[in-house]
Symmetry: C2
Subunit: 210 residues, 2 copies
């Protein structure tokens, strides 16, 4: 990395910090123009860093995911058993989101709406999470869990069963119902009960059975 | 019920039908004034049926839940095994919501936003669903499932694990990832794995373990 790139990176981070401060103050998204004013720089200087408005949004989203990505990597690199690792994988990011939500519910809602509106921007983060979860599933299967399921089947089912703990906006309407203890029981349930065995819940006659 | 009440009920239903048609046409909520115009009646006549704007919204929400409430009652009254019953309890309402979503995604989004904005109005429906799910859990526990868990613990954990299939708006961004087959596997996982046994996922050292 050259000295110039480092300086550019520092300036970009500073602009994103200004954008986050403005989002917290206003409870709404901000434009490059507002960030330029807030950072006391020229419009041209902001546009050199963010050629389009979308680049500013991208940078905000990217920084939002810095910590959760670090958490995933730290958990994956640990030597925990697969069930402990999967719990930490979800719980640490849930606790981070809950801290962010409780620190500023209005700003958190803006980031959730930004995520919903710019769902495509989340793709690379979601893909990375799925990639790491597949590694965890493979480790768990090597230890005998999730018998008979293909990794992508287990991936989808696990993602769905822990959705309240990964979909950030769920915090905005059921924070008080979510807890690390419940997430622990859900991960225990997944390890104790998820397999390709047909337990018969769906039945053979589909929705007409009752 | 007197003849007058029946006539009032029919008029109320007609106004709600007009409101739903306008919501589908506009992709937005409607006022009593718009419904009066759409139904070719006077403002006074609408206000006799809906004294406040909130009463119109209440009536729309109430009608939205007519079918799912009937589904829950039909499933509860059936003689299926507990796991089959729980699957049908969630799956039939999920399939209904998916039909509604696919028939008119824009109108469906309006109803989701209405539900989010008027969350209190959903309370009696959510309470009724919880009441019935508690009955299902008691039946399942009588058959040996969910060992050691209090009914309200099992209730909360099950509600969380099937959230993608009950939270209507999830359809608007992951319809293609949801299926009756996956819901069946989730219910199988719940019956095979949910208990008060501590499987150790959460660990004793909390989030500092890794």
């Amino acid at each position: 990395m050259t000295g110039n790139e480092t300086a550019d990176g520092a300036e970009k981070r500073r602009f994103v910090e200004v954008a986050k401060r403005l989002i917290a103050e206003r409870g709404d998204l901000v434009s490059r123009a507002a960030v330029a004013t807030g950072a006391s720089v020229s419009r041209a200087r902001i546009e050199a860093v963010f050629p389009a408005e979308a680049d500013l949004l991208d940078a905000i989203v990217e920084q939002w995911f810095d910590e959760p990505v670090a958490i995933m990597e730290e958990v994956l690199a640990s030597d925990l058993l697969a069930n402990r690792k999967m719990y930490e994988f979800f719980a640490r990011r849930f606790v981070l989101n809950r801290q962010r939500y409780r620190a500023d519910p209005a700003a958190f809602k803006v980031y959730c709406d930004l995520g919903t509106a710019q769902f495509d921007r989340l793709d690379s983060y979601i893909d990375l999470g799925d990639h790491y979860l597949c590694e965890l599933i493979a480790q768990a299967q090597a230890d005998g869990a999730f018998e008979g399921l293909a990794i992508d089947q287990a991936l989808s089912l696990i993602n769905q069963m822990v959705l309240p703990y990964t979909l950030a906006e769920v915090l905005t309407y059921m924070d008080e119902r979510l807890s690390e203890e419940k997430l622990g029981r859900i991960v225990d349930t997944i390890f104790a009960g998820l397999s390709a065995a047909n337990g018969g819940a769906q039945g053979v006659t589909g929705l007409r059975a009752a």
